[in-house]
């Protein structure tokens, strides 16, 4: 068994290559029970790929991922399934089953993995939907509710089995500021009160600093910085400062091809170059 019972996730020297391209470049970190780890970084920096390796959907080229002290990279499907029953995951789009109602979606893990009676399941579904502010929406189909609502149903479903560990991929994108605060408070309540552990991938800096006990910033598949929210906020690293303050100018390369150099010299771009900027620039 695990030498340190408090470690929920241990990632050691994780490397993943697609052909010649290294998407995850030697990443190591730990997550302790009750912590909320926020993983942030620009689009295409490897956040989602990293998450998929932690939940066992993808196998690394080399390195180790342990969840609850068990090595997940060498497990077969059945062993992975037994680990997955202990965690919940909120997908970026919600990933609700379109053929089932909102209530049936939340009930799905309960029906599959518990022996609870129908009445008990209905009660739990009602309770979980209430937690995310969606009481009374049980009988609607996913197609009949908004994107933000789908995401909240996805969260209710992820929490249905009262997981010890919650993964969230962009939990607050598409939510209004009030609903974002509600979801953040729910995460805080569960991590503080119920000692749930959370791993949250997000772009939303307000939300990130509100919920994180520790943060990791990724760039080009490597860890650029990690630490407590205060350490990140006060980081001398200009890449970190550019990212958390959402500035267009800075050291993070935007793949603007040949006019990149010019841009970084703060030379005023010529009109046609400016037009190309708008076209190529990705929001970091």
């Amino acid at each position: 068994m695990n030498s340190n019972g408090d470690l929920v996730i241990e990632v050691v020297d994780l490397i993943r290559k697609f052909g010649d391209r290294t998407v995850i470049n030697d990443i190591s970190f730990n997550v302790r029970r009750g912590e909320t780890l926020v993983i942030m970084g620009g689009s295409g920096c490897g956040k989602s790929t990293l998450l998929r390796h932690i939940i066992g959907s993808m196998k690394p080229t080399s390195g180790s991922v342990k969840i609850f002290g068990q090595e997940i990279t060498t497990m077969n499907e059945r062993e992975i399934a037994s680990v997955r029953r202990r965690f919940g995951m909120l997908f970026q789009s919600g990933a609700l089953l379109a053929s089932l109602t909102v209530g049936e979606n939340v009930a799905l893990p309960l029906l599959q993995h518990t022996d609870n009676s129908v009445d008990e399941i209905e009660e739990i579904v009602e309770e979980k939907l209430q937690m995310v502010g969606l009481s009374g929406f049980e009988d609607l189909k996913p197609a009949e509710i908004s994107g933000g609502m789908k995401k909240r149903v996805g969260l209710a479903r992820a929490l249905a089995l009262d997981p010890e560990l919650l993964f969230s991929d962009e939990p607050t994108s598409g939510l209004d500021p009030i609903m974002t605060a509600v979801v953040d408070q729910l995460t805080l309540k569960l991590t503080h009160g119920e000692h749930m552990t959370a791993v949250v991938v997000t772009h939303d800096m307000t939300s990130a600093f509100r919920i994180a006990t520790r943060m990791i910033m990724l760039g080009h598949g490597s860890i650029v910085a990690q630490g407590t929210p205060d350490e990140i906020r006060n980081s001398p690293n200009p890449e970190v400062q550019q990212f958390i303050n959402g500035e267009a100018d800075g050291p993070i390369p935007l793949n603007l091809s040949q006019d990149e150099h010019e841009h970084h010299q703060h030379v005023k771009p010529r009109p046609f170059v400016a037009a190309r900027h708008r076209f190529h620039r990705k929001t970091a």
Partner: protein, 233 residues
């Protein structure tokens, strides 16, 4: 692709025949749900094609005094009409793949083969022979319509002839064929659906490719089975 297909078939056999004995039952209610979908979608198509062939055969029979039985043609027709079934199944699973629903099932420790493929497979396996029998009756009805109204046969005489010309082996061979066709259609559709890549466009491309593959697979299988049933042993 072929490796995926073989793996799907093995996995399917495991979830249907082995897993229930280890306490992992598939959902009976899901099977009924799928049976209703397939039945509703396919009945009218099967009825129309079987009736048309019954009428055609009766008219040809009247002309050249051929044997009347339409039974041996019915499975071939059902085969064509179930190609239509591939579209909805494939698009449904393909869309689920594209919208992360399959991945979500896996992460919830729910096996997509057990949860999605097994009910569709068993529903098809039950409904297709049922549709074949239904098609047989409708075909006989088409023949009766011609004999009664165009040729002035009496109804009782027609029924006796029709039943007399039908051999039970025709019926059984048709049932066996329909089970094999059901297997081909559902495994190709589900395999393609679960491995769709490239968004909505990918779903469309996968559908076209799979319908062609399934049609070819069924035509070849049909030739082989017909050879075995009517010329073998």
């Amino acid at each position: 692709m072929l490796k995926n297909y073989l793996r799907l078939n093995l996995s399917l056999l495991y979830w249907v025949f082995v897993a229930p004995f280890t306490g992992q039952f598939f959902s009976i209610s899901q099977i009924f749900r799928q049976m209703v979908f397939i039945g509703v979608r396919a009945t009218s198509m099967v009825a129309l094609t079987a009736f048309s062939i019954g009428v055609t055969l009766a008219m040809q029979a009247a002309h050249s005094l051929q044997q009347m039985g339409a039974e041996i043609y019915v499975p071939d027709l059902v085969m064509l009409s179930i190609l239509r079934e591939m579209g909805p199944v494939l698009i449904e699973l393909g869309t689920m793949k594209v919208s992360e629903e399959i991945e979500a099932l896996e992460v919830m420790a729910i096996n997509p083969i057990q949860y999605l493929v097994v009910p569709r497979f068993l529903a098809m396996l039950i409904m297709l022979p049922a549709l074949t029998i239904f098609g047989n009756y409708i075909g006989v009805l088409g023949g009766w319509a011609v004999c009664r109204f165009a040729l002035n046969f009496n109804t009782a005489g027609y029924i006796v002839r029709a039943l007399g010309s039908a051999e039970t082996w025709d019926l059984y061979s048709g049932m066996i064929k329909s089970v094999v066709f059901a297997w081909i259609v559902i495994t190709i559709a589900c395999n393609a659906g679960l491995h769709v890549e490239g968004g909505a466009e990918g779903v469309g491309q996968a559908t076209t490719a799979s319908v062609v593959q399934a049609l070819l697979a069924m035509l070849v299988t049909n030739a082989i089975l017909t050879g075995i049933f009517f010329f073998g042993a």
